[in-house]
Every structure is written in structure tokens, then in C-alpha cells.
């Protein structure tokens, strides 16, 4: 089965981000079922699949916002394994989390801080940068996402697309090795989502390693190096975008694609 292929890729030594055997149970419900996948440095992988397939839960397991029931996550030389009876403490998780930036569906900017403070806060508190250093870095990132003029505005005064671009800048400000995107355009109108996708495309072009949960089939097809299909908490298929999109092997993938692409 194709699930096995993905497992083999993950154990390849060139995998920069490797998730193996990640399982997340909520009581009797298994939200994520033994998911194994790997990303080489600079690779962009999109996770697609029907709603409720456990894609977002899996992504949250990668940076331990949800503590998986079992599994190992490795980024570069930093890894963390959990299993029954081992619950990692905050300080065990921290080294891994520092290598991962995350962008959420609902942006989750801090509404009581200006755009600039949103991007600077964690640089000062987590990386220990001086306020001046942090501000300089924030401004250069805001410029990069086209929002330098919004630096002193509060998030409530920004459109959804602008907020999401600020959220991307906020995550990038900590110099993550890998960026995780959790349906970054699902809360946006299509034309606004396009601004966000453009920023993501640019990032991918610059060689950022990215793991993206998305419903944007065009983005998944055009920007990612690989597509992973999740159904009912498990990876049912993984491969090159064109292969998965045009000639899917798994019946569930075929069903999902025909539903979203309307064919």
C-alpha cells in the first residue's frame, strides 16, 4: 500500500522534518492514525483530504500543540518521542517548537498589540533580541509581506488577508527551519487568499521547508513537491502532485478529488 511508501521516505536520512508513527486518540476516537511522513530540506508538502480527516490535528501534533498519543517528530537533529505513559513537559517540547513556525487558519494575531509588536514580541521574549534588533527584523519582514505601512496599526484595523500576512511575518521572525501552515486561506475570500498564497509561493521559491494543510488544490498542485492525502486520520496516498491529482491510486483519493474538483 502507498502508506508504506511514505514511511520509507520518512526514514530516508535526508528527511529534514520526519514524523513517524504519529497517532492521536481522543477517548475512543482516533483522530490521527499512525501517520508517517518526511520532508527534505526546502521541500514543500501539501496535506489534502476531506474535512475531519485529521489533517489539522496532525499538523498540531508536529509542533506539539496537541500532544500525540504516540509518535516521534524530528526536525534536523532535534527529536521528541512520546508514547503511552510519557507526557513531555513544556521544556522538552521547546527546542523542537523553536524550529517550527506556524500559521493558523484564523490568524490568531494578538489584538491588543500593534502589528509591529505582534511580530517583535516573541523575538524579544523567546530569542532574547534587543527591542531595536527585533524591530529592525520585524520591519524588514513586514516590508517583505507588503505591510510596512501597517506597522503601527492594530490587527482589528487590518483586513483578513493583511492579518494573515502579518501572522506569516510573525512566524518567520523567529527564523524557523520549517513553516507549518494550517489552512491559511480557508477563512479568506478567494481574491484575498490569493495575496496570502502569493507570499507562500515566494517563500517556497526561496527554499523554505513547508508543510501545508490546504484546500487550495491549485496551490497544492503548482507549488508543492509532494501531496499527501489523509482520510479518516490516516495517510492513504502520497506522491508527486500531478500523479496524485490526475491518476490517484486510492479510491478514497479519487472520491475526494472528484468532489472538490467537480469531475
Amino acid at each position: 500500500m502507498s502508506g508504506l511508501d511514505t514511511r520509507e521516505q520518512a526514514v530516508e536520512s535526508d528527511a529534514f522534518l520526519a514524523a513517524s508513527g504519529v497517532t492521536m486518540r481522543f477517548g475512543d476516537h482516533v483522530a490521527v492514525r499512525d501517520v508517517t511522513l518526511g520532508l527534505a530540506r526546502g521541500q514543500v508538502v501539501s496535506i489534502i483530504g476531506p474535512s475531519g480527516a485529521g489533517k489539522s490535528t496532525f499538523l498540531r501534533c508536529v509542533n506539539f500543540l496537541e500532544i500525540p498519543t504516540a509518535g516521534t517528530i524530528r526536525v534536523g537533529g532535534t527529536s521528541l518521542t512520546v508514547g503511552p505513559g510519557t507526557r513531555p513537559r513544556e521544556k522538552d517540547i521547546q527546542p523542537l517548537r523553536r524550529k517550527l513556525g506556524m500559521v493558523f487558519q484564523n490568524f490568531n494575531l494578538f489584538p491588543h498589540l500593534t502589528v509591529l509588536r505582534n511580530v517583535s514580541l516573541a523575538q524579544e521574549r523567546v530569542l532574547g533580541r534587543s527591542p531595536a534588533e527585533a524591530e529592525a527584523r520585524s520591519m524588514s519582514l513586514l516590508e517583505r509581506v507588503g505591510l510596512a505601512d501597517k506597522a503601527s496599526a492594530y490587527p482589528g484595523r487590518c483586513s483578513g488577508g493583511q492579518q494573515q500576512r502579518v501572522a506569516i511575518a510573525r512566524a518567520l521572525a523567529l527564523d524557523p527551519a520549517v513553516m507549518l501552515f494550517d489552512e491559511p486561506t480557508s477563512a479568506l475570500d478567494p481574491e484575498v487568499g490569493a495575496e496570502v498564497l502569493a507570499v507562500m509561493k515566494e517563500l517556497a521559491g526561496e527554499g523554505m521547508t513547508m508543510l501545508v494543510v490546504t484546500h487550495e488544490m491549485a496551490f497544492a498542485r503548482d507549488v508543492s513537491d509532494r501531496i499527501v492525502v489523509m482520510v479518516d486520520g490516516a495517510v492513504v496516498e502520497a506522491g508527486e502532485p500531478h500523479k496524485v491529482m490526475s491518476d490517484p491510486e486510492h479510491p478514497r483519493t479519487r472520491g475526494f478529488l472528484s468532489a472538490v474538483l467537480g469531475r
Partner: protein
């Protein structure tokens, strides 16, 4: 009757003292109560919620009588001032805990997740992300509560605390002019609560103009 105005006004000190002291006790005790009532552990959460509900369901006047007239029977004897401050302080903790709880749930999980993902420590998350937003969300409701507590403090007159209402009662008896006396007393309460209401409105709208929580 107006020669007694000064005597009535002197009651402001007592009324304000009871209100401020009870509010501070409630604001402090309310924090652990609110946190406990949201605990993931049933053995912590359940007692906290019960305490909140019991305090809120029985009238403050009954609590005052219970403490002032009831507790001496089991050997706990508190003076009128101590009874008023402690009783109103403890019941306030339940009301304020409920206000804090509402604030917590209004913030949503996203703020917590985002600040975690950024690698902020638990302390920093509380200090830079949660507390300022919580303060913004709960301060108008807390101000409203402070005003109602100011009025509740009049209950202390029933157990012999010489505050505003008690003094009004004495003056009314002495002069026989209950109408004028209690109009004056009422005006004093009004004057005390208006600045509180005004300040909280202003602070609220200023913060609202700056950013919207949501």
C-alpha cells in the same frame, strides 16, 4: 435637617472603606476560584463551581445575618465592620470569579495556541497575551460590579455598621424628616458611583477604539 449634612457625609468614609476592602478581597480571591473552576480535574473544578454557585444564590443580607448572628453560636464572634467586610469580600469573590471565567472563555483558544506556537513560556503567555486582553474584557463588568457592591454595602447598616445609610437612619429619626434625609443619602450614593461609571465607560471606549478583541 441640613445641619446634619456633615454628619451624613462622614458616612462616606465607612461606605467607601467597606466597598473598597470587600472589592479587593473579592478581586484577589476570585482569581484562584476562577482558575479552579476551569480546571481539567473534576475534584478541583467541582468544589470551586459549587462554592461560586452557593455564594451567588443566597442573598448578601442572609450571609451577613448568618455570620453576625449565627457564627457566635459556634464561638466565632466578629464585630460589625469585620463581618461586613469579610462577608461582602467573600461573596464578591464568587461574583468576580464568574466575571473572570466569562473573560477567559471570551478569549478563545486561538490566542493560547498562537502564543504557545511562538515558544512563549507559560509566564510570558499570561503576562503579555492573556492578562492584558483579560483586563480589557473584564474591566467594564468589574466596574459595574463595583457599583452594585457600593450599593450592597448599605446592608451593613442592618448589623450596626455606622456608614452612610445607618447615619441617614439616625438623622431621619432625630429630625423626623425622612424625605429630605434619604434624598441626601441617595444623592451621595449617586455622586459616589457616577465617577466610577464614567471612568469605566471612557476607558472602555478608548480601548475599543484602539483594538477590538475577537
Amino acid at each position: 435637617m441640613f445641619q446634619y449634612t456633615g454628619y451624613i457625609l462622614a458616612g462616606v468614609v465607612g461606605t467607601v472603606a467597606i466597598t473598597v476592602a470587600a472589592f479587593l478581597i473579592g478581586a484577589v480571591l476570585g482569581v484562584p476560584l476562577a482558575v479552579a473552576s476551569r480546571s481539567a480535574y473534576r475534584v478541583v473544578r467541582w468544589p470551586a463551581i459549587s462554592v461560586i454557585e452557593v455564594f451567588r444564590s443566597v442573598p448578601n443580607l442572609v450571609w451577613l445575618f448568618l455570620v453576625f448572628f449565627g457564627l457566635p453560636e459556634v464561638g466565632i464572634r466578629l464585630g460589625p465592620w469585620a463581618t461586613a467586610i469579610i462577608t461582602l469580600g467573600v461573596t464578591s469573590s464568587a461574583y468576580l470569579a464568574e466575571i473572570y471565567r466569562g473573560g477567559f472563555s471570551g478569549l478563545g483558544q486561538g490566542q493560547w495556541l498562537a502564543s504557545k506556537a511562538l515558544g512563549l513560556t507559560t509566564w510570558d503567555r499570561g503576562r503579555y497575551v492573556l492578562a492584558p486582553q483579560l483586563a480589557r474584557v473584564v474591566s467594564p463588568t468589574m466596574a459595574t460590579y463595583a457599583i452594585s457592591l457600593l450599593k450592597e454595602s448599605a446592608l451593613a447598616s442592618t448589623i450596626g455598621v455606622v456608614e452612610l445609610t445607618f447615619r441617614g437612619g439616625l438623622v431621619a429619626q432625630r429630625t423626623g424628616d425622612g424625605l429630605t434625609t434619604f434624598v441626601v443619602v441617595g444623592l451621595v450614593y449617586l455622586v459616589l458611583s457616577l465617577p466610577l461609571a464614567y471612568t469605566s465607560r471612557r476607558v472602555d471606549s478608548r480601548l475599543r477604539a484602539k483594538f477590538s478583541v475577537g
